[in-house]
Assembly symmetry: none
Homo-oligomer: 241 residues x 4
Amino acid sequence: MAKTTESNEAENPSREPWKGFLVRQRNLDAKRDAVLQTAAHLFLENGYRRTSMSDLGRRLKITKPALYYYFHNKEEILVECYRLGIMAIEGLLDKAAVSHGNGLNKVRAYVEAYTKAVVRFDFGRCVAMLDDAELSPRTRREVRDLKRKIDMAIRGYVEEGIRDGSVAPCNAKLASFALAGAVNWIGTWYRPDGELTPEEIAEEFANLLTQGLRKDPAPTTLPANDSGAKTTGRARAAKRR
Amino acid sequence: MAKTTESNEAENPSREPWKGFLVRQRNLDAKRDAVLQTAAHLFLENGYRRTSMSDLGRRLKITKPALYYYFHNKEEILVECYRLGIMAIEGLLDKAAVSHGNGLNKVRAYVEAYTKAVVRFDFGRCVAMLDDAELSPRTRREVRDLKRKIDMAIRGYVEEGIRDGSVAPCNAKLASFALAGAVNWIGTWYRPDGELTPEEIAEEFANLLTQGLRKDPAPTTLPANDSGAKTTGRARAAKRR
Amino acid sequence: MAKTTESNEAENPSREPWKGFLVRQRNLDAKRDAVLQTAAHLFLENGYRRTSMSDLGRRLKITKPALYYYFHNKEEILVECYRLGIMAIEGLLDKAAVSHGNGLNKVRAYVEAYTKAVVRFDFGRCVAMLDDAELSPRTRREVRDLKRKIDMAIRGYVEEGIRDGSVAPCNAKLASFALAGAVNWIGTWYRPDGELTPEEIAEEFANLLTQGLRKDPAPTTLPANDSGAKTTGRARAAKRR
Amino acid sequence: MAKTTESNEAENPSREPWKGFLVRQRNLDAKRDAVLQTAAHLFLENGYRRTSMSDLGRRLKITKPALYYYFHNKEEILVECYRLGIMAIEGLLDKAAVSHGNGLNKVRAYVEAYTKAVVRFDFGRCVAMLDDAELSPRTRREVRDLKRKIDMAIRGYVEEGIRDGSVAPCNAKLASFALAGAVNWIGTWYRPDGELTPEEIAEEFANLLTQGLRKDPAPTTLPANDSGAKTTGRARAAKRR
DNA sequence: CATGAATGAGGATTCATTCAT
DNA sequence: AATGAATGAATCCTCATTCAT
């Protein structure tokens, strides 16, 4: 499957003809990637349905049949966007040291990582925003299974938090839906040229969703906030309008 | 390719004034409503783009030109769905005694009412879920203005809460996006035949978003929670899985 | 068949019930006429094809089925416009004392009368401008026969003029086509609010087409112009830009 | 109802590059031309409105989408017909040594050239006959400007003739309308298989319109006819019925 | 007489996809 | 590895015409 990392280094197709296959192989992957990048961009901007293969070809300055050389059909392009997005998200989630700390901390880390994935990567945003109803039943199930994995992870952490006392008792399913919804929705309003960095958004969202809006009821006797940093975070983000 | 029309022919009879013996009768508004109901349903199920006028006609058991007797074009149907949805939401929000209490209370009431609107009414869900990029620039602006009104109301309450001390200092814009996102997203996963009632969802969401996930840090000395009921709410919803 | 003259005198439908039939009859004719008037107007303004029965109904403030009460179908309306136009033209041509004078005089009178008919009456303009290709073969032949009658009359006068020496020897068919063309074309550019009266146009056209553009080669010795008035006519029309 | 497609399947083979064995070959311009030829033909025969893209495709034996490969939409085809027609006319008018001689001679040359353009070329006839009301406002203005250029040229020559004494004083505007009308109308009755050659028609028309119908009032003393050839022309054309 | 409601047939246009080269 | 050309199927929409009342 197409490599995630961009390998758009200019190839020298002529030298070393015995390396032809590899070069060609890398070239192919690079072009596939280019197609996917552009496709993701257009899908997000105009919707999958309203993006025609002609649009895509025009943007890439290649002809339609060339697209069909790289992909069997439009749906495959969409699926691949999903797959790359899900891989990116999973990668980020794994890197986020989700594995230690109590349940609440894991949820926090998770939300933060997920937010970054959605804000930073077009493919991530595809997962969050594109309607998988466009897919054929067979592929849809596949994509949904992958999505569910992410959902279930959050839900698991919430439940863990409830058990270990770091999370207030609640409906874990609803809670994870709320978290996912808030994050997925980011794609709707986020603009790369906006005022907030992805990190700021991620942190603020993590705060909001784990601590809620309301002011700590009794900061009087107990300054034992579980993270001084977070309060700072709030304040910091708040400054920026 | 996924066929647009799955034969979900089981119909709510109230949606079919054509079925009755009063066909070719003068109940224009009733029929317009029926068209809108069905349209909203199909738009939500399959997307605006993938719902053809033929699909709509087939569901209603009328011919395409008959649809055009009631509406000028497909877009007008969509716009009307939006309008009805926005009216429903605004109605609910007005009824929710949003006007009294501190900022946090208002946000709570708002979230609860908005959630109900989205969960209970197809039209409400249309507002939350349908992509207004389908609309012509002129109408899009109109719809967006209406949506913004809702957004701005939430943001206003958040800011009010920050001023009156009931809401922790935060980026009000981001906070209202988070709230709106979580609620709007409901349309993605909600099924009318699910386990939770709209009210339960609304209450749980209101809790989650205002209080956050984490357990109150110091419930020891101060039972002066601003709402004992909410804790109960949490517990209640939690019971249902 | 519908009366040509407008009898839109307000009817009193209630008094004298035994006259009901006649009243109703007159009423019907009046309405038929109204439909035809409006239809002719719209056909000329937007073309037959681009004028829908709805347009026509809207203008008349009656419903479509009402139109079908007065006429069997759209084509019949067009045919009736033609018929009225042809009748009007024939009427004018008859009135123009075409029957006396030499051939050239008859042509002159004819052109003048025809021009007036086309300029003054919408129905006349319909004959000149509307494409009878819209008609069904059967009706088309009928209409064309009527048109041909007019054409043949001009041609006849031209030939008569050639015989009696008042018209230079020429291809009578081509000549009559030229005359007819120039006159028919008037509908293309004529605006009722223009600077020239129908009479001026008619006279100038009659001059142009019978005498040609070129200045009389030898007006020196022979003032025996067959009409001193015409020279005046030229000058008069020329004044008005 | 008159069927749009009469099976006049006898085709000019030059109009069908699809017929040959070079199908799916790179001769874009040839095919565009073929489309335009056929379109002009159908537009003239049945009217723009009544010629559907299907009709056009059927005649050319290609599918509708293939048409859209060559042209953006139906209007573009019409516009292109106009443009070609106007270019053809302007070309002929330029070639006609319009630039020398007195005003009357110029008018004569002009009428003759214009007549040939209209009689000989389908595209020319399109300019004369097709209703530019079908065009979008933007394009209509463009086409009308081009048409007006032609009109104004005639009018200019008439005025020149009035000044230099070769044309009798008259309303130049009306006169040019008459000329244009007579010529444009040719498209209505001209059949390529008719008895008269385009040249004969052109010459006769030029005579008629410049010299009028009436016999020279006093050829006795003044044989100084400005063109002996013309009289011959008259006689020649007259022979043919 | 007149109307509100409905329909069948078509019309322009777009799109994903394929063929032959 | 890529292209110019072409297509079948659909989509939105319009129109002349007709019921049933």
